[in-house]
C-alpha cells in the first residue's frame, strides 16, 4: 500500500467561523495503481491532495505515505518525504523560469540525490523533449511545459505521484496526448498515481475512481 488515508478531516477559517472541507475521508492506493479523484469545485479534492503531499496539515485522521505516517511529521521531515517519495504535478506546471528545461527536469532528482542521467534522457525522449532541453520554459508551449513537469517528477522516481488537474490548462488534443504519455510512464515506473480532475473523460482512463462531495467520499 503506497497510500492510506484514514478518516481525514480539514476545515478552513471562513467569514462565519470554521468551514469544514473534508469531513472524514478514507481511501487507499496500491503501488502501480491509478486513481482518479473527482468532485465539484470546492468539494475538497485539491485540499486532500495537498494534505497527502504534506503541503498542509490535517485537523484529524491519518495519512500514511510509503509506509510512513505523515500527519505527525515535522515540516522538515515532510519536505524530505516530498523530495524522495512523493512527486507533485501541478496544473500551473510550476517550473523554475530561470533554469533550462534540462535543469528543470533534473531538479527534483538532484534535490533527492537520486539523479540518473540515463533515466532522465529516456524520459525526455519519451515525452518528446529532447530538442528543447537547452531552452528556457517560457519558450515552450503549455503542453511542452507540462511534459517537462512530468519528466521532472518521474526523474526523481517517486513511489507516489500526485497530479492536480495536470491537463487543466491544455487544449483537448494536447491534454489527451500528455495524459497518455503520463499514464504510460507512471505505469512503467510502478508508482501509484492519484489524480485530481473534474473531467470525466480523464477519470475514465484511470483504474479506480473516487468522487468527493460535501467533504465525503461517495
Amino acid at each position: 500500500m503506497v497510500l492510506t488515508v484514514q478518516d481525514v478531516k480539514k476545515s478552513f477559517p471562513g467569514a462565519e467561523g470554521e468551514v469544514p472541507v473534508l469531513r472524514g475521508v478514507s481511501l487507499t492506493l496500491e503501488r502501480g495503481e491509478t486513481l482518479a479523484l473527482t468532485g465539484e469545485s470546492g468539494s475538497g479534492k485539491s485540499t486532500l491532495l495537498h494534505l497527502i503531499g504534506g503541503l498542509d496539515r490535517v485537523d484529524g485522521g491519518s495519512i500514511t505515505v510509503a509506509g510512513r505516517e505523515i500527519t505527525d511529521m515535522s515540516d522538515t521531515d515532510r519536505a524530505a518525504l516530498r523530495r524522495t517519495d512523493v512527486g507533485v504535478i501541478f496544473q500551473q506546471f510550476n517550473l523554475i523560469p530561470s533554469l533550462t528545461v534540462e535543469a528543470n527536469i533534473a531538479f527534483q532528482a538532484r534535490l533527492a540525490g537520486t539523479y540518473d542521467v540515463a533515466h532522465a534522457k529516456r524520459l525526455s525522449a519519451a515525452l518528446g523533449l529532447t530538442d528543447h532541453l537547452l531552452k528556457y520554459p517560457e519558450a515552450l508551449s503549455g503542453g511542452q511545459q507540462q511534459r517537462v513537469a512530468i519528466a521532472r517528477t518521474l526523474t526523481a522516481r517517486p513511489k507516489l505521484v500526485l497530479a492536480d488537474e495536470p491537463t487543466g490548462n491544455l487544449d483537448e488534443a494536447t491534454a489527451a496526448e500528455v495524459l497518455g504519455q503520463m499514464l504510460a510512464l507512471v505505469r512503467e515506473t510502478g508508482a501509484g498515481l492519484l489524480m485530481v480532475t473534474h473531467s470525466q473523460s480523464v477519470a475514465r482512463r484511470m483504474e479506480r475512481h473516487v468522487h468527493l462531495s460535501q467533504g465525503h467520499v461517495v
Binding site: T76, A79, R82, L95, S98, L99, R110
Partner: protein, 798 residues
C-alpha cells in the same frame, strides 16, 4: 540539495541581470556615500586640527617668557627633568626675496599628539625630519623658501598661508637662535606630584589655552555631516529595499515550487540569507572602494594626514584603514539585512498553498497608503512629543528619525491625493486616463520616490545647515577678528606706553578692558570697549534695539551675550544690574559661540569709572598694512612675536578651510540626487514589463506610442515635482532640528537658521532633471515597443 537549491535561487539573477545590477549598484552607492562621508569627515577634522595647530592656537596651555621673547633651552631641559611634560616651539620670521615667512620650529617627539603638524608623506620621514632637516611649507611661500634655505622643502596645503614648519633644531639654525626657544606647549596630561613652575622656571608665565569657540563650531559641523552621512545611507537603503522586495516578489512562485518539491523552509531561508550576505559583501566592497574614490576626488588636498607621529602610519595619502572599510562592509551587510528582513519574514510566513501567481510590486495600494499614512501621523506625533518634552542627543536623533521615516511613509498617500486632485480638474478623456494611470503607478514608484524625497530633503537640509553655518561663522569671524592684529601683553606697566605707540602707528586702537564678575548670578566677563566704526560696522546681533552703539557709547545701555541672556532669563530691553549702583537696559544680544562664560559689553569711559584700577592688556589694532605694523612692533618696539596674533591670516585661513568643506558638501548633494535618480530609473525599468498590458488598451484606443512615451516622461516629472515640493519643507525641518535641536543638545547653543530660496529652486530643478533623465530611457523604450508586443497582450488575455 543545498547546492542544487542555491543554483536555482541564483539562476534568477542570471535571467534578471538589470535587477541584479540595481541591487548591487544600489547597495554599493549607499555604502559609498556613507564611507565617503566618513572619510571626508575624518580628513576634514584632521585639517581643522592642522589649522589650529599651525596657528599655534589652541587647545593647549603655553609657557611664555615674562619678559623678552626668548626662553633659554636650558630652562626647557630643567622643566623636563623636573617632570613637566612640555614641548618646545621656536618661532621667527625668515626673510626671503618674496617677503618674510613665519617659521615655526617644533619638536615632534614631545609635541602633544594632536599638534604634530607634520604632513608626513613618502617624501619625508622622521629620520629626515629630525636629523637632516625638512621644511613643510604652505604653498604660497614654498617657492620663495626653496630659494632661500638649503633644506628640502615639502609643500603642504594643510599648513596656514605664510607659514613653514620644521624641526626645532633646524629652526634654531635658520633663525640663528641656537639654544633659544619662543614658548613651551604644556601637555594636558602631566604626571602626579609636579613641582610648581615658579620653583623651576620663575621667568615663565603660563598662558591658558585660548577660547575654543571655533573648535566647538567645527565639532557641531562634524556632527551635522555625520547626520548627513546617515541620511545618505538611508537613501541608499530605500533603493536596496526596493530591489530586494521586487526580486523576492518575483521569486515567490519559485520559492513555492522549491518547497513543494521538498526543500525545507529552513534551508531556503538559510540559503537566501547566505545569498544576500554574499551580495552585501561584494556590493559593500565595491561601495567602500567607491567611497574611497569619492573622498580622494573631493579632498585632494587633505592627503597629508595629520596623525601624531607616534605609532601612527606615515603614508601621506588618504588611507583604506581597516576600521574604515570594515565599518563600511558592516553597514552594507546591516543595511541589506534591514532591507531584506521584511522579505525574509514574508517567505517564512508565506503559505505553501495560496495562488503562486506573482503580485505586482506594490507598497501602497489605497488601503496600504492609508495605513502607512496613519503610521506616519503616529511618528509625527511622537516627534512632536519628543520636540516638546524630550531631552538629550539620542532623543534628538530619534526626533530626526520620526520626522524622516514619517515623511517617507506619508508620501504615497500625499501623492495619491495630489493625483486625485488633478484628476478632478481633468477635462479631456486622455488626461483623465493619464491621471488615473498615474495613480496606478504611485504604488510601484513609491519606494523610488521616497528615496528622492529623502535625497532632496537631505540636500535642502544640509545646504541650509551648511550655509547657515557659513553665514554665522563668517559673521562671527568678522565680528571677533575685525582688527587686523591682536596684541596681548603680560606686563600691565607696559600698557599705557604701548597704547601710545600704537596710536601713532595704527589707524585705530581698540583697548580691551576686562574684569571677571557676576551678572545676574552668571559668571561673566565684563568688557569696556572703545565704541567706534569697528564695532558699529562689524557686529551683528541675534536681537537688537535701535541705536545700539549710540546708547552703549553714551553709557546708557549694555550688550550681552546669548549665553548670559539665556541663563539669566533676560532679553533686549530687560534691565540688568552690572555693578552695585549700575543698572542698564540690554540694547542687544550677541552670539558668542562656545564660551562657557557670559559676556557683557559697556563703553570704555563707564568701565574706567567703575574699575579705575583695571589697565588694558589686550589691544585690537586696525591697520592697512598689518605686516609692516607687525614688523614695527617687534623690531622697533621690541614686542615678542608671540604677543601678536595676525587675525586677518587666521580669518583667511579659516574661511579657506571652510570653502573646502563646502565644495565637498556640494559634490555630495549631486551624488545623493544621482542615487535617487538611479532609484527612479530602476523602478521604471522594472515596472516597464508590467506596464505593457496597462498601456496596450490606451494604444488600441488611439494614443500613439510616441505620445505614450511622452506621457510616461511627464508622469515621472509630475511625481518627482510633487515629491520635491514636499521635500523642501521637510528639508527645512531637518535643518531646523539639526541647528536648533541637535546642536542645542550637543553643544548648548542654537545656530540661527538662514533661508536660501534661490538655492532651493535650483535644487528643485536638479531633482526634476534627475527624474526626467531617469525616466528618459524607459520612455524611449516604451515609445519603441513593437506593436506586436502590445497586440500580444490581447492575444494572451486569459
Amino acid at each position: 540539495m543545498t547546492w542544487v537549491t542555491l543554483t536555482a535561487l541564483l539562476s534568477h539573477w542570471r535571467c534578471n541581470r538589470l535587477q541584479f545590477f540595481a541591487l548591487v549598484a544600489g547597495l554599493a552607492l549607499a555604502t559609498a556615500l556613507w564611507s565617503g562621508v566618513q572619510a571626508i569627515n575624518a580628513e576634514a577634522r584632521a585639517s581643522y586640527d592642522a589649522a589650529a595647530a599651525t596657528l599655534g592656537e589652541g587647545q593647549f596651555d603655553q609657557l611664555v617668557p615674562r619678559s623678552g621673547d626668548r626662553i633659554d633651552q636650558a630652562t626647557y631641559i630643567a622643566l623636563r627633568r623636573a617632570g613637566w611634560q612640555v614641548s618646545p616651539v621656536l618661532e621667527g620670521r625668515l626673510r626671503t626675496n618674496a617677503g618674510s615667512v613665519r617659521l615655526v620650529g617644533l619638536e615632534p617627539l614631545t609635541a602633544p599628539g594632536t599638534i604634530a603638524p607634520v604632513g608626513m608623506s613618502e617624501d619625508a620621514n622622521l629620520d629626515d625630519f629630525l636629523t637632516r632637516g625638512v621644511l613643510f611649507a604652505a604653498p604660497d611661500v614654498a617657492d620663495a623658501l626653496g630659494r632661500t634655505v638649503a633644506q628640502r622643502i615639502i609643500t603642504d596645503p594643510s599648513i596656514a598661508p605664510g607659514v613653514a614648519l620644521t624641526d626645532i633644531g633646524v629652526a634654531q639654525s635658520l633663525l640663528d637662535a641656537e639654544g633659544r626657544l619662543s614658548r613651551l606647549i604644556v601637555s594636558p596630561l602631566q604626571p602626579m606630584g609636579l613641582p610648581p613652575l615658579e620653583d623651576i622656571a620663575p621667568g615663565l608665565l603660563r598662558q591658558p589655552a585660548q577660547d575654543a569657540g571655533a573648535d566647538r563650531l567645527t565639532d557641531s559641523f562634524h556632527l551635522n555631516l555625520t547626520a548627513f552621512g546617515l541620511l545618505s545611507f538611508a537613501v541608499g537603503i530605500f533603493i536596496v529595499h526596493g530591489t530586494i522586495s521586487l526580486a523576492f516578489e518575483q521569486r515567490r512562485s519559485m520559492v513555492r515550487t522549491l518547497r513543494a518539491l521538498g526543500v525545507p523552509l529552513r534551508t531556503l531561508i538559510g540559503l537566501t540569507v547566505l545569498e544576500l550576505s554574499l551580495f552585501a559583501l561584494v556590493a559593500g566592497g565595491i561601495g567602500v572602494a567607491l567611497g574611497y574614490v569619492i573622498a580622494a576626488v573631493l579632498l585632494p588636498n587633505v592627503a597629508a594626514t595629520l596623525q601624531g607621529l607616534y605609532g601612527a602610519s606615515v603614508a601621506g595619502t588618504l588611507q583604506l584603514r581597516p576600521d574604515w572599510w570594515l565599518s563600511g562592509l558592516a553597514i552594507a551587510v546591516l543595511g541589506t539585512g534591514l532591507a531584506a528582513s521584511g522579505a525574509l519574514w514574508a517567505i517564512a510566513r508565506m503559505p505553501l498553498l495560496s495562488s503562486a501567481r506573482p503580485r505586482a510590486w506594490a507598497v501602497a495600494s489605497g488601503v496600504t497608503a492609508r495605513r502607512l499614512g496613519a503610521l506616519a501621523v503616529l511618528l509625527f506625533l511622537t516627534g512632536i512629543g519628543i520636540a516638546i518634552w524630550g531631552q538629550g542627543l539620542t532623543l534628538a536623533f530619534a526626533l530626526l528619525a520620526c520626522l524622516l521615516i514619517g515623511a517617507a511613509l506619508i508620501l504615497p498617500l500625499l501623492l495619491r491625493s495630489a493625483v486625485t486632485l488633478a484628476d478632478r480638474q481633468a477635462r479631456s478623456a486622455m488626461w483623465q486616463w493619464f491621471w488615473a494611470d498615474t495613480r496606478q503607478q504611485v504604488p510601484g514608484m513609491s519606494l523610488a520616490l521616497m528615496a528622492l524625497l529623502l535625497a532632496t530633503a537631505a540636500n535642502v537640509g544640509v545646504s541650509t545647515m551648511v550655509s547657515s553655518f557659513r553665514v554665522t561663522f563668517v559673521d562671527f569671524l568678522d565680528q571677533r577678528l575685525a582688527p587686523e592684529l591682536f596684541i596681548r601683553i603680560e606686563d600691565t606697566a607696559q600698557s599705557a606706553d604701548l597704547e601710545a605707540f600704537l596710536l601713532t602707528n595704527a589707524s585705530d586702537v581698540l583697548p580691551l578692558l576686562t574684569v571677571d564678575t557676576d551678572v545676574a548670578g552668571v559668571p561673566t566677563e565684563l568688557y569696556g570697549v572703545r565704541v567706534g566704526p569697528t564695532y558699529r560696522e562689524n557686529w551683528l546681533f541675534l536681537d537688537d534695539t535701535p541705536d545700539v552703539w549710540d546708547r552703549v557709547e553714551a553709557g546708557r545701555a549694555v550688550v550681552v551675550s546669548e549665553q548670559l541672556a539665556r541663563r539669566a532669563g533676560l532679553w533686549t530691553e530687560d534691565t540688568v544690574t552690572l555693578a552695585p549702583d549700575l543698572t542698564l537696559p540690554i540694547a542687544a544680544i550677541v552670539a558668542d559661540y562656545g564660551n562657557p562664560l557670559g559676556q557683557a559689553l559697556i563703553a570704555e569711559p563707564l568701565f574706567r569709572q567703575l574699575y579705575p584700577d583695571v589697565v588694558p592688556v589686550s589691544f585690537g589694532v586696525r591697520s592697512d598694512d598689518p605686516d609692516r605694523l607687525r614688523r614695527t612692533l617687534t623690531e622697533e618696539y621690541g614686542l615678542p612675536d608671540a604677543a601678536i596674533t595676525d587675525q586677518a591670516r587666521i580669518k583667511a585661513f579659516s574661511l579657506e578651510v571652510f570653502e573646502r568643506t563646502f565644495t565637498v558638501t556640494g559634490a555630495l548633494n549631486v551624488l545623493t540626487l544621482a542615487v535617487a535618480a538611479f532609484a527612479i530609473l530602476m523602478s521604471l525599468l522594472t515596472l516597464a514589463s508590467i506596464r505593457v498590458p496597462q498601456l496596450a488598451p490606451a494604444w488600441a484606443l488611439g494614443l500613439t506610442r510616441r505620445r505614450l512615451g511622452q506621457l510616461e516622461l511627464l508622469r515621472a516629472v509630475v511625481l518627482a515635482l510633487v515629491t520635491t515640493v514636499l521635500a523642501i519643507p521637510l528639508g527645512l525641518m531637518l535643518a531646523w532640528v539639526l541647528l536648533a535641536y541637535v546642536n542645542v543638545e550637543a553643544f548648548g547653543w542654537k545656530l540661527p537658521i538662514y533661508l536660501f530660496p534661490a538655492h532651493y529652486a535650483m535644487l528643485t530643478v536638479f531633482a526634476l532633471a534627475a527624474a526626467a533623465l531617469a525616466a528618459l530611457w524607459p520612455a524611449i523604450r516604451l515609445a519603441r515597443t513593437p506593436p506586436s508586443d502590445l497586440l500580444k497582450v490581447f492575444a494572451n488575455d486569459r
